[in-house]
């Protein structure tokens, strides 16, 4: 039995790697995409372009604006002198925000009346707008602190001392890179397994395979192992890059990490083979692969938190192996989560893996045309 599986495995590897185009497609893009996406996928904003509309001539206003021009997060691109100039700048996306200081600003400030800094933000991307406003508030808060200090005003009754656990500087890259590791593992695995049966069915060689002495279980192993091995290799490589290149801290136990990887690969290979054996043509296989990959990634918590989704959609995500894998990756990488806390991530992946592998093996024989 072992030799037969081995022979089939060799054949699968040859089918995948013999074709130069196919070989390149499996190996090069995931590494390139890790680099590109890890740099690209960040919610942190840098060099936010803004315009200043200052109607006040006092030094207090200039001092406040200096806080913005001096920050690396902001970049001043225009100074305007009338209301009418605001709309064209924002509409055409030349600036993301306009800071407006009214003529009474300094006067109000010295008379201890509320002085207002008006901020007009482009809300087309509401998340970007919220992040920008939080940057603005932190600059204004530190300006206020200095003003109170310098003028001996009464301090607010209590200050906030905020600390962020596991990621003190709120680097979104630490969150995103483990996520990219997860989605690339998924894509590679589906790439290898998602079409392997469909192609043989379309070309008629799968029928030949079925009349050989190979049992469905053996075919299953022969088809599953290459995907598993390639997935494991690429996942390790990508993680190595994440640690060495992007300096994402790996705080947890590597054995726990690999438990998660093995279980995830099992479920991804299983789903890939299931899609593949359901499809009669490669076009259907490709459609199936997309219909699995796309929702898996969007509903995994990779970019938008699962907790923000409505209850029904949250239930649907329970079927998504990537969802559990990302919790394991981020937990082990950043939080040093112990094994016991991850049990609830491990068993669903194992269950999805077993069920999908079994149904793939069943489909080999029972879906024939």
């Amino acid at each position: 039995m072992g030799r037969r599986i081995f022979a089939l495995m060799i054949k699968e590897f040859l089918a995948l790697l013999k074709d130069k185009k196919s070989r390149t497609v499996i190996i090069v893009p995931p590494l390139v995409q890790l680099l590109v996406f890890s740099y690209a996928a960040t919610f942190d904003l840098t060099r936010v372009s803004f315009a200043v509309y200052n109607e006040d001539s006092g030094y207090a206003a200039r001092d406040l604006l200096a806080g913005f021009t001096g920050s690396t997060n902001f970049r001043e691109v225009a100074r305007i002198s009338s209301d009418q100039e605001i709309a064209p700048l924002i509409n055409s996306r030349k600036v993301l925000l306009v800071l407006h200081i009214g003529p009474q600003f300094s006067r109000n400030l010295f008379l201890r009346r509320p002085a207002e800094l008006q901020v007009i933000v482009d809300g087309r991307n509401s998340n970007t707008a919220m992040v920008v406003l939080s940057y603005v508030r932190s600059i204004v808060t530190s300006y206020n602190d200095r003003w109170i200090e310098r003028h001996g005003l009464p301090k607010p009754p209590a200050r906030l001392l905020t600390r962020f656990w596991f990621n003190q500087n709120l680097e979104s890259r630490w969150f995103i890179v483990p996520g990219v590791v997860g989605i690339l593992t998924l894509v590679v695995t589906i790439l290898v397994t998602g079409l392997s049966v469909a192609r043989e069915r379309e070309q008629g060689t799968f029928d030949q395979l079925l009349v050989t002495p190979l049992r469905p279980v053996e075919i299953l192993f022969g088809k599953a192992l290459p995907g598993f091995i390639i997935g494991l290799g690429e996942a390790s490589l990508i993680m190595l890059l994440a640690v060495i290149w992007f300096n994402v801290p790996l705080r947890g136990n590597i054995l726990i990490l690999y438990t998660g990887i093995v279980l995830f690969l099992m479920s991804a290979v299983g789903v890939g083979l299931m899609i593949s054996s359901l499809a009669v043509t490669q076009q259907q296989g490709l459609l199936g692969a997309f219909l699995f990959i796309v929702p898996s990634i969007i509903l995994s918590g990779f970019a938008t938190p699962i907790a923000n989704m409505p209850e029904i959609v949250q239930r649907i995500t329970l079927l998504n192996p990537l969802r559990y894998y990302l919790v394991v990756l981020r937990g082990v990488f950043l939080e040093n989560t112990p094994f016991a806390l991850l049990i609830h991530q491990f068993w669903p992946m194992a269950l999805i893996g077993v069920v999908s592998l079994a149904s793939a093996a069943w489909l080999f024989r029972h879906r024939m045309y």
Binding site: N125, S126, V140, K155, P157, L161, R163
Partner: protein
């Protein structure tokens, strides 16, 4: 003589039309026989938009937060009141900091607000008291939002306190914010138009990624070669039916965006569809190019999976801001067609007919479509290798 030549050209033209009609008829039949193409064009946008339109949101509400108040009193209640009534928080009160940090470690809460035993007294001191806040920073974006919400609660509390003591404004400078185009800050308003671009990328590429390689693999391309059909006609014959299918899917998506997700459509409909038509040509052209270069369905599928969805998802500006990416990556985003379509969609939906955004992006789409279709045309000669 002259008449004869004229007649010949007319015949040739008529022949071209007839051949084209024949090719398109064949393509339509193929679409109807294998329902997966129709599923791609009509079922996929509906399923994906429903799932994502409801599922993808960056608005954190009812964030589970632990309030540790060691010595509850009327003074602390004035502060914690702000959390209890807020739609952003789902607070859970505890008495000891140990319980509190454990709830943070177990992911039962995303944040913790800690008022020490001496909180009430510390407010009387000149340097003021301290409120400790701990937030799980793993999801940095979410953590920043939560920290902003906590700051909001604190700000309101300070205002109430200073009003009570009649000591003038506690904060010398106050930020007054106005968010244009999306004043209620609904992330769906920008995510749904972006999703349309992502979904149309998938549809366009999926529809055409296999059709040329299929003909090569099955040997029917050779049959086409010995017929009088020109390669140009083959490409047009394949493009037109799938273009119509794709526009059908686009219409469906726009209808859902406006009527189901209530995304405001402030620009004009014809501009939206003109942009969509340009983008669809680009996406179909990319699929055809993949298909032509790969020659085998297997490789074409692999390339389609890698080259379409993830770049459109991450590099298009649909969710991650392009302006904040490193310059090299920003340069790379220019070869992602979805980037231009996302810009057009977000502006036309939320801001209106902003020509200074629409024109350059439309121009970029025209250039890309020309390049993709041009290369496809050059690489599909009547030649065997």
């Amino acid at each position: 003589m002259v008449k004869k030549a004229e007649q010949q050209t007319i015949e040739r033209r008529g022949g071209a039309l007839m051949r084209l009609r024949g090719l398109m008829r064949k393509e339509f039949l193929q679409i109807l026989r294998d329902p997966s193409s129709i599923a791609i064009a009509f079922l996929m946008p509906v399923v994906l938009l429903l799932l994502f339109g409801y599922g993808v949101s960056l608005d954190a509400e009812h964030v589970p937060i632990t309030l540790v108040v060691e010595h509850p009193s009327a003074v602390t209640a004035r502060f914690t009141k702000g959390f209890l009534g807020s739609r952003y928080f789902n607070p859970n009160q505890m008495l000891s900091i140990r319980e509190g940090t454990q709830s943070l470690l177990d992911h039962e809460a995303n944040g913790l607000v800690y008022l020490r035993e001496d909180f009430a007294e510390s407010l009387q001191r000149t340097e003021g008291g301290a409120i400790q806040v701990i937030i799980n920073g793993v999801d940095a974006n979410n953590a920043r939002l939560i920290s902003g919400y906590v700051e909001g609660v604190w700000n309101d509390w300070i205002k109430r306190e200073s009003l009570k003591q009649g000591s003038g404004p506690a904060m010398p400078v106050q930020v007054q914010q106005r968010i244009w185009f999306n004043s209620e800050v609904r992330s769906q308003n920008f995510l749904v138009p972006g999703l349309i671009a992502v979904i149309m990328t998938l549809i366009g590429a999926l529809l055409t990624a296999l059709i040329m390689s299929r003909e090569w693999e099955r040997g029917t391309m050779e049959a086409l070669m010995v017929s009088p059909v020109a390669m140009r006609e083959v490409i047009i014959g394949k493009l037109v039916p799938y273009f119509l299918l794709g526009m059908g899917g686009m219409t469906l998506s726009v209808v859902m965006a406006v009527f189901l997700f209530h995304v405001p459509l402030r620009g004009s409909l014809w501009l939206l569809f003109a942009g969509a038509a340009l983008f669809l040509l680009t996406a179909l052209g990319m699929g055809l190019l993949i298909s032509t270069l790969a020659r085998s369905q297997f490789v074409a599928s692999q390339v389609a999976i890698i080259a379409t969805f993830l770049p459109a998802f991450i590099l298009s500006g649909f969710i991650f801001d392009i302006g904040s990416m490193p310059p090299v990556i920003q340069g790379l985003t220019h070869i992602v067609a979805a980037r231009y379509f996302v810009a057009i969609l977000q502006s036309v939906f939320l801001a209106g007919n902003v020509w200074s955004v629409v024109l350059p992006n439309a121009l970029a789409l025209i250039v890309m479509a020309t390049i993709f279709l041009g290369i496809t045309r050059r690489r599909s000669r009547k030649r065997l290798e």
